[in-house]
Symmetry: C2
Subunit: 246 residues, 2 copies
């Protein structure tokens, strides 16, 4: 299985950093706030951050009382930024793919992953490895691109009216799981589409209990400030899951 | 709250009975087989069937060893057929809305509902009533129209090519929950759209554990026999849920 390191591609890296720097990016407005509501009290907890990127969450977890954080990411370039901008004696950054966490020696109270899981081909295997790395009573909180969004395979994503207003999300191949190759800053970015039920069943089958799910969308107040996100009412961008190891 | 008795409308009733009589109807090919795989061993169990219609499932549950079945349906006309075609000393048919099951005296081991829940406006209330009517260790298995399908509110459901082949399901208003009024045999049929996460969270919040979900779609063999169902690969018609009272 080829594990992609697109975040090390300089064009991808620059493009990604630019959208994340924008004040009204969808991650900061919708994904991160939802992720935070799903996290338990972190005081004294040991955390594992899968696909930690440039480490902003790892640093935040320490600031919120976590005892220690291990951040893993496949991208050396992202971890360089993490070391520079978000280092802490209680944080260990490891340049390994998510698929290799079974090689870690520690067990964790909380496993977090922000928008990385849809890059993982072998979801069932990785979920099993996460479960095995967790202490009893621990929680696994992750966000990913929404299954309605990852379903898409080709053609136009939206049907628009003559003024460019989005009328419909053109949903296709929702039930056809697997690889989706797309262009996002660069060609050949690979994501993996899984249905809602596959996500739920995979978690349940290894032993997790589903505690909560969120499909974030803007309320009226948010829409007044950021009207460009009204398309999220038709099709959410993100799915967030909180699962517990009982 | 108005509870609709569309199944008592003679035009609706005739239209509905006709599609269910067709050998290749989607209920028989996809929904019922999926529902059956979610049911536990029924031997000696007490069952409640919510929206039992003409009682075919109630009769099947008894044939599969259930100790007794209570079937409730809001439609008198449907229950007339049930009494005629699917009566049994172990089955009790009650002409009450699903919303009134808190008035029943019995507790149940298994609660089943086939394609009725999307007619229920007050999902959270009804789920609470179901939970309260169940014995510990009992399971609640239900099917409903898929949230992607119920999201739809107006306009064309599909974008087709020049030969009439369905290219995309025109998804809109997925995040806008609530009433959907549509024409299905008759005007003014009301269904209630809820997102995937609302369904999951509502069940979890009253105490249920999610055990399994199914979004049925045809495999290659099924498509060879019934090629007209290839649109289910783009958009599943049904969602099925198995939840347990621990």
């Amino acid at each position: 299985m080829a594990r992609q390191i697109i975040y090390d591609d300089p064009i991808f890296f620059d493009g990604y950093m630019k959208i994340r720097e924008k004040e009204d990016n969808a991650n900061d407005l919708f994904e991160i706030p939802a992720l935070l509501t799903l996290l338990p009290d972190l005081s004294g907890k040991s955390l594992l951050d899968l696909g930690c990127g440039y480490g902003e969450h790892c640093k935040m977890f320490i600031n919120n009382g976590a005892a220690n954080v291990v951040g893993v990411d496949i991208s050396e370039k992202m971890l360089e930024v993490a070391h520079r901008a978000n280092s802490d004696p209680k944080i260990t950054y490891l340049n390994i793919p998510i698929e290799d966490i079974d090689k870690l020696e520690e067990q964790f109270d909380v496993v977090v992953s922000s928008l990385a899981i849809h890059y993982v081909e072998s979801f069932a295997e990785v979920v099993k490895k996460i479960y095995d790395k967790m202490n009893t009573g621990g929680v696994f909180v992750f966000s990913q691109e929404h299954p309605i969004a990852t379903a898409y395979s080709s053609g136009n994503r939206w049907t628009k009216d003559e003024n460019g207003k989005k009328l419909y999300f053109n949903l296709s191949n929702y039930c056809v799981e697997g690889e989706r190759e797309l262009t996002w800053f660069v060609n050949g970015v690979k994501k993996y589409h899984r249905t809602f039920s596959t996500i739920v069943n995979t978690l349940v089958e290894v032993g997790f209990t589903i505690e909560r799910m969120i499909e974030p969308f803007p309320d009226a107040e948010m829409l007044k400030k950021h009207p460009q996100y009204d398309d999220l009412l038709h099709k959410p961008d993100f799915l967030l899951v909180k699962a517990k190891k009982m």
